[in-house]
């Protein structure tokens, strides 16, 4: 259960000096379209970064709120999505800094697949693999987790990853290589 309330996050945003009186960057209809296209993927990212579904819900709300308040013009849809992931990454990092525990397990994969396992043995095997993936990701350092997820789950380019994580584009290749190694070691392969 999440022990970080939205109020904590609100205070952080206020402390950061945001201008609360300004209008949002898009209207409700444009937001709905954008949200429906991106929210599941952002939620999956936040869930994998925090390991807590309830917290991922809270952080999702916070990420979209900060996005709406950013008041920036984006060249394209892809720039807009990158900006959203950058904000989501910062929101998740704020959570680590507050001393939240690292993600431990993958309850969703286990719960979702419990019923399936009874019916299909091959599904059980796949579920086991997913559980392992979740555990290995949870044991990685936050930056490695972010790198791997953005590179392979989201299929972002090195430049996009660098922008999202505040790193140099030239360093992404090496960092990804190390993260991959660690990830596979944790998977025991």
């Amino acid at each position: 259960m999440s022990d970080m309330t939205l109020t904590d996050l609100e205070r952080t945003a206020i402390a950061a000096g945001d201008d609360a009186t300004a209008a949002f960057v898009m209207d409700e209809e444009a937001f709905r379209i954008f949200y429906e296209r991106t929210s599941r993927s952002v939620w999956a990212y936040l869930f994998r970064m925090t390991g807590d579904g309830q917290l991922a819900d809270d952080l999702l709300q916070e990420a979209y709120y900060r996005f709406l308040r950013a008041r920036k013009e984006y060249e394209s849809e892809s720039h807009r999505q990158n900006a959203l992931y950058r904000i989501a990454t910062n929101v998740a990092r704020d959570t680590y800094r507050r001393g939240r525990r690292a993600p431990e397990a993958v309850p969703i994969a286990e719960e979702v697949d419990r019923a399936d396992r009874r019916e299909h043995a091959d599904v059980a095997e796949r579920a086991g693999t997913r559980t392992d993936v979740g555990r290995a990701l949870a044991r990685l350092r936050p930056r490695d987790r972010e790198l791997l997820w953005l590179a392979y789950a989201q299929e972002f380019s090195h430049r996009e990853i660098a922008e999202g994580l505040g790193l140099k584009t030239s360093s992404i290749k090496l960092l990804l290589w190390r993260a991959r190694r660690r990830f596979m070691e944790l998977l025991g392969r």
Binding site: A44, Q61, Y65, R130, W149
Partner: protein
């Protein structure tokens, strides 16, 4: 002519990529994020709340300054009224002992300062509370 070269890291990349893409797909299928309307409504409400809070901040500062001024005026009044109060209490009964110290034997500034410090120590926590309570 191209030379076929197999990098062992390529198969690792492919394996990691497959695993994480499958994980992503599964999580996206099972994710139940709040409805767009709910997220929008909460964001709007929060924006209005923050705007109201920021608008109220100058008033809070004025309250704090007014409280400090009030404390100063009260201290000055106390200084002016001390001899009169002493006489009044003496006339009222045997309470004169409570004010037996003679203010004329002290420098006037010293007594004023003492009175101000005493009052400030009483009023300052209240003023601080008033100033900060709206920020919660």
């Amino acid at each position: 002519m191209s030379i076929l070269h197999h990098d062992p890291d390529d198969s690792l990349v492919a394996e990691v990529s497959d695993l994480l893409r499958a994980e992503h797909r599964m999580l996206c299928e099972k994710a139940h994020p709040p409805a767009a309307g709910v997220v929008w409504w909460r964001a709007e409400r929060r924006r209005r709340d923050e705007a109201a809070r920021m608008a109220a901040r100058p008033i809070t500062v004025v309250h704090a300054v007014a409280s400090a001024c009030g404390a100063g005026v009260a201290a000055a009044l106390l200084q002016v009224l001390t001899p009169w109060l002493r006489q009044w209490i003496s006339a009222a009964g045997g309470l004169a002992r409570l004010l037996e110290w003679d203010t004329t034997s002290f420098p006037a500034g010293y007594i004023t300062m003492l009175a101000l410090v005493a009052l400030a120590s009483l009023v300052a926590p209240l003023a601080l509370y008033v100033a900060l309570s709206d920020d919660k």
